[in-house]
Amino acid sequence: MSTFKEDSAYDMPPVGLSNETIDGDIATLNLGPTHPATHGIFQNILQVDGEKILSSEQTVGYIHRAFEKLAERRPYNQITPITDRLNYCSSPINNMGWHMTVEKLIGADIPKRVQYMRVIVMELARIADHLICNSVIGVDTGALTGFTYLFQEREKIYELYEEICGARLTTNVGRIGGFERDFSPEFHRKLEDFLRTFPKVFNEFNSLLARNRIFMDRTRGAGPISAERALNYGFVGPNLRAAGVDYDVRVMNPYSSYEDFDFIIPVGTDGDTYDRFMVRQEEIRQSLRIIEQAWKNMPEGSYKADIPEFYLPPKEEVYNNMEALIYHFKIVMGETPIPAGEVYHSVEGGNGELGFYLISDGGRSPYRLQFRRPCFIYYQAYPEMIIGQTISDAVLTMSSMNVIAGELDA
């Protein structure tokens, strides 16, 4: 995190632009760190000529919480709440990604039913994530209606989370090996209700913006990036797909039975704000399709894997059963033997490939845990995307990249 130094900001040469200015005056402007338009704590020191941006110096790290260090002192099951706080718009995907990483390390065999349940939860999270991002793009273009309208739908998704795990934002959902309990009848009722009512609301939102002349004029050509540059910068997820590259971890390296489902990967062409918006819109529809398929074809079976060394036994068994008591004690005290080794596992998060690089030396905590945080990697392309654009386009570009402070700063 570099602090603002007035001198250095003025000395910065305008990158790749002529020295001719509109009114002969270059101003320095702080975009952020705390401004409603940045949707998080990001600082950009801009040099502007009139409204045209000449250069940008980014400052990040305002909410750095040292997750990778914290993880080195925590038992594996206590790391899940840390992952909640990465991309907090889609916490369940982070949770599941972490569970699957540990399951890969310990070689757990996960029942098909658990995998389908996870797919439902992860796709609900993806919808919630994209809903926020897209409705906020609307807000930044001046259309507040869609945002307030869609938050009702996000609320329904959060109620579904509540049915599964009791929490809403930082969900800490599931466990290593499966879920705490099976989906309740109430969950199925609410999910059915959601699947019935959501498409109509969503289509209304879509018709509000997707072909709206004002919206298109504002977003087309705002913050574009070419596929080649995006790849070089390590873009993944919807932002990369908007630039025309169809990379999706769900298809490339299927996990949790994604190979069973029929869905398409939408791509854009220009990599601008409009394409990012449209890609996310289509991904919401595809996520709905996946949820429907997973829900209709949910296999019978257990909601948890048979790994008593890692999966906390039911409380009544702990008091009446010797083995359960031993396992309970070992799990709570962090005495479970974990194989030494190193694994990398990635899932398709709300922002793209969310990776977990885990090194275990056999101890109670990871020896080293590194998160691949897509936001952190692609946000460094932001200056390149906004140079030559206007300040209002810069705001749009940031919201359409879905930069989440929690994921960026870890």
């Binding site: 602090t3 260090k69 002192r73 990379y247 962090g334 080794g341 694994v343 490939e353 946000y379 460094q380």
Partner: protein, 169 residues
């Protein structure tokens, strides 16, 4: 999507090209992991990107690991790369000594490496030769230590009011 490349094939191809630059080859959890001499790492990553057969051209992740008890090899730099055309993942490692933890930057190959290398410097103090702006990124500029090194405990080790010995810590 099945990969067209095999771990053994890729390992052999890189070994043929770089010979002694490849220190060791492992495959933990079926992922090709190669230890590369630190001074060759940049060339290996550049070559596997341009090689027509491998096309390993996406930098997924890079970061450091600290092994304080491993004399002469205290720091590891770990690179995860991915070939999207072949759907093949590879992990490359280089070990650096504590007195001079330094390795060539990847910013000339991948722009995305810029912040990841700054973060690694911020956390571990590993130097990246040729990096355009190697300053701290997540922590305060005035910080005078590298927090992810193992000698910095998360909790104050001098505290006497907490005794965690009985809890396996």
């Amino acid at each position: 999507m099945e990969s067209k490349l095999t771990n053994e094939g890729v390992a052999r191809r890189i070994q043929e090209q770089f010979g002694a630059g490849v220190v060791s080859v492992e495959m933990p959890y079926d992922m090709l992991t190669m230890e590369i001499a630190a001074d060759q790492m940049h060339d290996v990553i550049e070559w596997i990107k341009s090689d027509a057969e491998l096309q390993i051209g996406f930098l997924t992740l890079l970061g450091g690991v600290h092994y304080p008890n491993d004399k002469g090899r205290e720091f590891a730099m770990v690179y995860h790369l991915h070939s999207w055309t072949n759907n093949f993942r590879i992990r490359l490692k280089a070990f650096l000594p504590a007195e001079n933890p330094s390795i060539a930057t990847l910013t000339d190959i991948y722009d995305g490496a810029n912040w990841m290398e700054r973060e690694t410097y911020d956390f571990f103090g590993i130097q990246f030769e040729g990096h355009p702006n190697l300053v701290r990124i997540l922590n305060e500029d005035t910080m005078d230590y590298f927090p992810m090194r193992k000698e910095y405990h998360l909790e104050d080790a001098t505290r006497e009011d907490k005794d965690d010995r009985y809890f396996g810590r």
